[in-house]
């Protein structure tokens, strides 16, 4: 199965307001797809539909070959939300253990997984600290580590690098590219435009529509500008 995510003509309304107008999007195995767009363009709703928290009014949302909402598929998705979403009174290890158990990682494997993911995000030495004592960056890293638990086929990361210093950001991207090369698929939303240069394909979301979906280089050529940031600005202007 090549396609990890396949959204076709998704439409989602909340009451009279149309949040998603017509979203078609694919994420393949071994590919990082960036989802960019201004606030209110429908990024979070798109992600919520992929996870089955919302149900589309029209169109199909296939994730790992299953029509969403589907509970079992969730075990194979690593999700990281915009907020850190950690249990502050627990320590990092207890957080990892809890979410590992929720994901259905077997207890034998869980110990190995915790050691692995915590080394990826550089938290091995502070695993026994309460999260309430963590700095903002540490929380973000722990949040990412939780998403990586259980070696999911698909990662859905909502703004994973907010509040992380440049050195660590580079390290995280290094790891994401590693995961991609191992065949995982990654959907990532971001506000940091130079990060999108590192993705394989970028989807530009505006007013609930995907207005462009191609590799960063193709997009820059298509719009005749040097960076994705310029593509973003130009596309927004053309739409208005």
């Amino acid at each position: 199965m090549q396609r990890l995510i396949e959204l076709t003509h998704l439409n989602k309304k909340f009451g009279n307001r149309t949040i998603l107008h017509d979203i078609s999007l694919t994420v393949n195995r071994g590919e990082i797809v960036g989802l960019i767009g201004p606030s209110g363009s429908g990024k979070t709703t798109t992600i919520k539909t992929m996870l089955g928290m919302e149900k589309a009014n029209q169109g199909t949302a296939l994730v790992l070959g299953k029509q969403m909402p589907n509970r079992k598929v969730l075990g194979n998705i690593g999700y990281m939300a915009q907020s850190d979403a950690l249990y502050e009174s627990l320590n990092a290890k207890e957080n990892l253990k809890f979410f590992g158990e929720m994901k259905g990682v077997t207890s034998k494997q869980l110990q190995k997984e915790i050691t692995h993911v915590s080394s990826v995000v550089n938290l091995t030495s502070s695993l026994n600290q309460r999260v309430s004592n963590y700095s903002g960056g540490m929380k973000r890293r722990l949040s990412l580590a939780i998403a990586l638990l259980g070696h999911p086929e698909l990662l859905i990361l909502d703004e994973p690098t907010v509040g992380i210093d440049p050195a660590l950001r580079r390290q995280i991207w290094h790891e994401l590219i590693n995961l991609r090369n191992q065949g995982q698929g990654i959907l990532i939303t971001t506000h940091v435009m130079d990060e999108t240069e590192l993705t394989d394909r970028v989807a530009l979301l505006l007013h609930g529509d995907v207005i462009a979906f191609a590799s960063p280089q193709e997009l820059e050529k298509q719009y005749g500008v040097p960076t994705i940031e310029d593509v973003f600005l130009k596309a927004e202007k053309e739409e208005d």
Partner: protein
């Protein structure tokens, strides 16, 4: 498995929040202690009556009544003045010509008014009896002097003595004793509802709930996980409440305390499921706070503290849909009549039905946050 993991996590969170934990157990004890102070206050009314033109006999008789003191006043005007200044609680004015008592009450405290009325009635009856018995004595002596041969058997004129026996409680058993079982249930419900209502809400506002729902956990596993962890806490909490009530308020329990705890724990589970349901519906802590009077206050009104028998039937139906009605009844049966659990089948069944419906609603209600 996931249920237990959620239970374990929630318990660790609860145990590490020392302040909330202390409040969970200390707040009920404090409230019950305050209630004890309030209920044990002496509530016997005392009245001071001003009398105008009232005979010595009546005055003496009035004084014999508990809590009544009498002050003879010369004129009605003087008495009215005292009443206005709140020095006396009532004026009794006797009109000899009409043989008529004019009574004016301050009537700011109905118990005092009632006491005055009773005292006056008793005093008049007392006077009548005294007059009658002196009349009879005079008659007897008259009969004896005219015809000594007629023998008049001397009846025992002493009043029969009364000794009181109480099947439940003692002479001090009051209205409060009757409502204590219901109040006990109320406090269990209130405190458990309070903590459980915040439980899921905190998880939602911190964002961990979304992350939890992004794993293949079942909605029922979340509900049961929470029920189990908070259930353990509320078993402890309701045991504390029951024991404090029985010990502090010196309640005579005819039945078994274990049975009281079992019923209370059952109610605690209903309150728990109710609290979790409300926290699913509330969007913020503030809204949750607003649910508290909405859910809790009707329970006081309609659960039997105020007798509903004489009210319209639709009012009685409201009582039937409130869990506290059944707990109140069950606890009263255990405490006052010593009934066992087997004879409380209806109440227990009703509570179990509440619990099942609420659990089901909770599992359905979580669909709001994830569609499967």
């Amino acid at each position: 498995m996931r249920t237990l993991a959620i239970t374990k996590r929630t318990l660790i969170e609860l145990l590490r929040d020392k302040r909330a934990l202390a409040l969970m157990f200390l707040a009920p004890i404090l409230i019950l202690w305050l209630m004890n102070v309030m209920f044990s206050a002496n509530s016997d009314p005392k009245v001071e009556i001003a009398t105008v033109n009232v005979s010595q006999t009546i005055q003496q008789n009035l004084k014999k009544v508990d809590g009544v003191s009498v002050k003879a006043v010369n004129s009605n005007r003087q008495a009215k003045n005292k009443l206005k200044k709140n020095k006396v609680d009532a004026i009794i004015n006797y009109n000899q010509a009409k043989n008529h008592f004019n009574v004016t009450y301050a009537n700011t405290d109905s118990t005092k008014t009632t006491l005055t009325k009773q005292a006056l009635k008793a005093a008049i009856t007392g006077q009548t009896i005294t007059t009658l018995s002196t009349g009879i004595q005079r008659l007897q002596s008259m009969v004896k002097s005219t015809n000594p041969n007629i023998s008049i058997t001397q009846e025992n004129t002493k009043a029969p003595s009364i000794s009181n026996h109480y099947q439940y409680g003692n002479a001090d058993t009051s209205f409060f004793t009757k409502i204590v079982p219901i109040l006990m249930g109320f406090f269990v419900f209130f405190f458990v509802f309070l903590i459980s209502g915040m439980a899921l809400l905190k998880e939602r506002t911190s964002g961990t709930f979304d992350r939890l729902l992004a794993t293949p956990v079942r909605r029922s596993e979340i509900v049961f996980g929470y029920m189990l962890s908070y259930g353990i806490i509320s078993i402890l909490q309701s045991t504390v409440i029951v024991l404090t009530t029985v010990w502090l308020l010196k309640i005579e329990v005819v039945g078994s305390i274990i049975n009281i705890i079992i019923i209370s724990v059952l109610l605690a589970f209903v309150a728990l499921a109710f609290g979790i349901l409300m926290s699913t519906l509330a969007n913020s802590e503030f809204q949750m706070m607003q649910f508290i009077p909405l859910v809790v206050v009707p329970q006081i009104f309609f659960s039997g503290i105020i007798p509903l028998d004489s009210m319209a039937s639709w009012v009685q139906y409201i009582g039937k849909i409130l869990p506290l009605t059944y707990t109140g009844d069950a606890l009263t049966q255990i405490i006052m009549y010593g009934k066992g659990l087997t004879s409380l089948g209806t109440d227990i069944l009703a509570l179990l039905i509440f619990l099942l419906i609420l659990l089901w609603l909770n599992i359905i209600g979580l669909k709001r946050y994830r569609k499967v």
